[in-house]
């Protein structure tokens, strides 16, 4: 266990390091923020001067080493655009992102998995058709559209929910739905398929033969067996919900790191982007380690094979 954890940790660090390096290089290839910072009438010399002041004229590897040096002291640098520590900027957005991601995950898992179970066990009923329609809608409406439609319907027309805002529960509802809808569909479909796969197996018949109802067999045995692909998806979706929220956050003026990320990329605020990437890769690696652990908890064969 300890060895496995240590191995994973080292691999994770290498992976995160890889991410940082790739992003660093590509970001720097794509230009620097000087042009965006200067007033439009700045002269070429002025731009060069500011660039030099900000240190973007140095060779990329010097900047990279510099960055790493800072990183070694847990110094993530100061945003050239906002002139505050990059880590602070990102940190201030984390709570919002956590809220939104949890909300969306709740929608996705809370609705997706039960829907999948129902769709698998009630094949052919009207309930299955209704759920299918919902699932397909979730998969085929772009978030920028669903977001604004939600706002117009529930915010402007019905006035049930605030049109934008952040931090409180009511304003979390619509963004969570908009963001979670797609994942919800994915969960529902994956759950459905996995369960259908399992229902054909002999142990289901054996379970019923010992006097369990079909639903008892489903809940006690089938779900567990069907869990692996669903867990895989869950791990993928968590990372997705963190970084994939750009559009939802933009539409609902939700100040999460997705919005920050796109703004920082667009303003070439390198250090902020780096912190975000660091954070996302950390979370991603953690969830995938977690997923591996959960695989092992769910499936003793995987557990023993390690």
């Amino acid at each position: 266990m300890v060895r496995y954890a240590a191995e994973r940790l080292i691999q994770a660090i290498i992976a995160i390091f890889g991410v940082l390096t790739i992003v660093f290089v590509v970001m720097h290839l794509s230009g620097d923020p000087t042009l965006l910072l200067v007033p439009q009438d700045a002269s070429a010399e002025m731009i060069a001067q500011l660039r030099q002041q900000l240190g973007f004229d140095r060779p990329i590897w010097v900047q990279y080493l510099d960055y790493l040096r800072g990183l070694a002291h847990f110094d993530f640098g100061i945003s050239v655009v906002q002139r505050v520590p990059a880590a602070d900027i990102v940190a201030s957005r984390v709570p919002y992102t956590v809220m939104l991601a949890s909300g969306a995950l709740l929608v996705a898992i809370g609705m997706g998995i039960p829907a999948g179970i129902v769709m698998a066990t009630r094949r052919g009923g009207w309930l299955e058709r209704l759920l299918t329609a919902i699932v397909v809608t979730g998969q085929s409406v772009p978030t920028f559209l669903s977001g604004i439609v939600l706002i117009f319907v529930f915010g402007v027309t019905l006035r049930w929910l605030p049109t934008s805002g952040s931090g409180d529960f009511v304003s979390l509802i619509m963004p969570s739905i908009a963001l979670g809808a797609l994942s919800m569909s994915t969960f529902a479909r994956m759950t459905r398929i996995s369960i259908i796969d399992e229902l054909g197996k002999d142990y289901v018949r054996a379970g019923r033969a010992r006097g369990l109802s079909l639903s008892a067999v489903v809940f006690r045995h089938v779900l567990r067996n069907a869990a692996i692909p669903v867990i895989t998806i869950a791990a993928l979706e968590i990372g997705n919900l963190l970084a994939g929220a750009v559009i939802v956050e933009t539409v609902f003026a939700w100040p999460g790191i997705g919005q920050l990320a796109i703004q920082s990329i667009q303003s070439r605020d390198f250090l902020v982007v780096q912190v975000i990437v660091l954070l996302i890769s950390f979370v991603y690696v953690m969830t995938s380690v977690l997923a591996d652990l959960v695989y092992a908890i769910v499936d003793p064969r995987i557990r023993m094979a390690r």
Binding site: M27, S140, I228, P229, T232, L236, I247, Y284
Partner: protein
Amino acid sequence: MNTATFAIRQRIRRVPLSVIVVSTLLLVIVLLAILAPWIAPADPAKQNLLARLKPPGFELRGITYWLGTDDLGRDLLSRTLYGAGVSLSVAILSVVVSTLLGVTLGMVAGWFRGKIEVIIMRLVDIMMSIPAILLAVLTVAVLGPGFLKLVLVLGLTRWPRYTRVAYAQTLQVANLPFIKASELAGAGAARILFHHILPNIAGPVLIVTTAEFGLMILMEAGLSFLGLGIQPPAASWGSIMSVGRQYLERAWWIVAFPGACLFLLVFSVNVLGDWLRDQLDPRSRSR
């Protein structure tokens, strides 16, 4: 007779009505997309600033705009028809790229384990932790916009999902006795992966693929929303919708028609995907 013919024989049995319906639908969509240049009533790029945001059925100088016009007075029907081709090819190409890459890597990682597993799975971690949007923006920044680059970005950002799914499923399937049996029969890794593991992990993979298919169209739409998708005057359903969202109140038809098409497409792909999956699973097929 080889394995393939053994397997393919009897494949098409009783095809349910729903599958026939959606296949027809899909075929129609694809045909419309391909035939767009011949059947579209107007040039999709032809603007008429005097006829902006006109509702379906609007007529001007003998031309009928069956689905209305957009904010530059272009014929929405023609744009939707042409947009189908763009959306479909983006989705198909990127799904194909990411499936091929992702599933192969996932199976290889799950089957060989060891070093190669670590390398592939960490690569997956790396790719997954770089937000897709960042990669998209940066790619456009470095390489410039364009259709192939779009496909490249989408394909490159999405393959790790297939890898994770294929990997997890492979781990499970690889322990089953029939895999060992085939190893004993002398089957090499390639054969085991593609003849035995692949069909047995195809269910979940197909789910991802069909889900991703719609998602790719949505991702392209998202990039269009951010101004980084297909370059105008070419249009995709996504870009039409991202324009239309500004005019939800004034001109609902702009989003409505491509939206409906997208719904039908995603629905058809899902139904077809599920059916295909069932075809791959002989147990549920003979039901």
